[in-house]
Symmetry: C2
């Protein structure tokens, strides 16, 4: 592959001049410029990003470590992050942690070794020493969706409390009183927060959330299935199951169907994180929808601000409830966005 030296030789100038033309530095004569450009075209020369990064100490690359690519929510997040980054002249390298802390660490380490300019993370756990060290060590970093308390890093996320209140209002209005939740891992903020929001909303209606109605999942379909089976085996099974993410809702649907029960007649179902497929499931699933695209864009903006020396801002956007048929018929009620943040 042709290097800058070859171009310089072909154009009859020094490498310094070639470099100046490439970075359109003003003080180059028109003559030299045209000769260099011609040589570049003739040789099909493309600058070596590796060499350039070594010299300039910047890669114009962002790392994004997400918990699970197979989850459509994160896929959409990744897409919007890449799009926003590209618009600002950055590339994105995605690391998929599969909800496994050691894999998350592997990706963080690899990205750091590659000297990415900044890191976007949706942590799988409470925070590995590696990540804490990176944050303190000055690596530009922003948390997205999930975060780690006590670490001084901007957070871009959505607040589902209002939407969860709307959901509980909807469920209560339909006459449901025994409500259960499939929680995510307690080590994740989204895992514990969604339970808290649910419990608080229930409290407003004087409805308790007994321990037996809190199932421990891990954001994967299989755990949704397992927890749902546990719920259905209770002497007094819940009337509603609220899954803290869409994959666990899928597992719950599996488990309910396997018992020959129907949604919403036998059990109602709701989920956190809306996805296009929920429109066509049997029945369509009521869900709390996050403004995923906005989240991705805001996260990139914050991270790039941090990288380029501007003060980054934490952002919290409201989620909203999308009512469908999985909790029971109630055609005209379509509670949305009751409050803004």
């Amino acid at each position: 592959m042709a290097s800058i030296k070859d171009v310089a030789a072909a154009a009859g100038v020094s490498v310094a001049t070639v470099s100046r033309v490439l970075n359109d530095h003003p003080s180059v004569s028109d003559d030299a410029r045209t000769r260099v450009l011609a040589a570049v075209a003739a040789l099909g020369y493309r600058p070596n990003a590796v060499a350039r990064s070594l010299r300039t100490d910047q890669t114009r690359t962002l790392g994004l470590v997400i918990s699970d690519v197979l989850n459509p929510y994160f896929t959409e997040l990744a897409r919007s992050v890449e799009e926003a980054a590209r618009a600002l002249g950055y590339s994105v390298i995605i690391g998929n942690a599969d909800e496994r802390p050691e894999l998350q660490d592997h990706h963080v380490r690899t990205l750091l070794d590659r000297r990415i300019d900044g890191l976007l993370v949706s942590p799988t756990d409470g925070g590995s020493p590696l990540m804490l060290e990176a944050a303190r060590g000055g690596t530009p970093m922003v948390f997205v969706d999930r975060w780690i308390p006590g670490v001084d890093v901007p957070v871009v996320r959505s607040d589902g409390r209002a939407a969860v209140r709307d959901l509980v209002a909807h469920l209560h209005g339909l006459g449901h009183r025994r409500l259960a939740i499939i929680a995510g891992p307690a080590a994740t903020t989204t895992g514990s927060e969604r339970v808290r929001a649910f419990r608080e909303a229930l409290a407003e209606y004087g409805v308790p959330l007994p321990e037996a109605y809190i199932g421990q999942g891990d954001f994967q379909a299989e755990s949704g299935r397992r927890v749902t089976e546990g719920f259905l085996d209770l002497p007094e099974p819940p009337e509603v199951i609220f899954a803290a993410d869409n994959l666990m809702a899928l597992g719950a649907l599996d488990a309910v169907r396997a018992r020959g029960l129907r949604v919403p007649d036998d059990v109602a179902l709701a989920a956190f994180d809306d996805i296009p497929w929920f429109v066509h499931t049997d029945p369509p699933v009521t869900a709390v929808a996050q403004p995923t695209g906005e989240l991705g864009r805001a996260a990139v903006r914050a991270l790039v601000d941090r990288i380029e020396g501007r003060p980054p801002q934490s952002v919290t956007l409201p989620a909203r409830l999308v009512v469908r048929r999985s909790c029971g018929e109630n055609p005209d009620q379509n509670v949305q966005n009751r409050s803004q943040s």
Copy 2:
């Protein structure tokens, strides 16, 4: 960030010795080795992958350019590719083309600039000059899922012909005679091949595939919706709609539902590419399932063989039919894998 020089200074040796320890080169004394290791630990030193790549001319990174991350099929493919690559000590950088040739080119160019060791591509179109040039220029390359005819690059894909024959047998057995297809872009191999396989299978039953029953889609949900509306507006609408990918099937489902029609009673539906959600749609969708994980692993194997100087092999794996309820009831028939390749 600490560099190799800092480590050398701290350990009281030269950078050469540090490098030797890091790459566990045999001729280093135990004494020097322990001192270097101690210094590495004390400084939290991590080698700079950028500098290393510049010197060794290899990045231990693979590029993967896929047509659409939001399509669960490609997401799963990406996941298995990353997993297989990691097992072999490679990282993967994913580029999402969104089915847009110019975006595909952007990613190919960026990846080439980063001097990735090899490229895995599922081309969005018939092949841009850029990609052809890269292939001829000696960049290790492997096509996966889709390919470009006439280019000397190994192809890893699945053959859906047997599964499509099984599908047609299933449909014919249910009494359907007017069968339509929502095709993908003709510029993609999967776009044209699936139509051909469908037509050939129909021919075995003496059923024609009229032009009016071939809708032109672009592998996105919206096109599935549009084409389906066209089909339903025909004086003699088809009894079956076969979507050449899962997103267009989603769009078709949307369109059918919007008309107040039911699947399979009013129109039957089948799709290429099976996904977990198809189990829970209303009704569950009959689909041709590709061995996605295998495909990803085989593609990485072929590419790494090519990179490391071993002869790479093209691979073709059979797809299989998964019968569900979207084409009509026929409980005991579950045709699968009638033939192997």
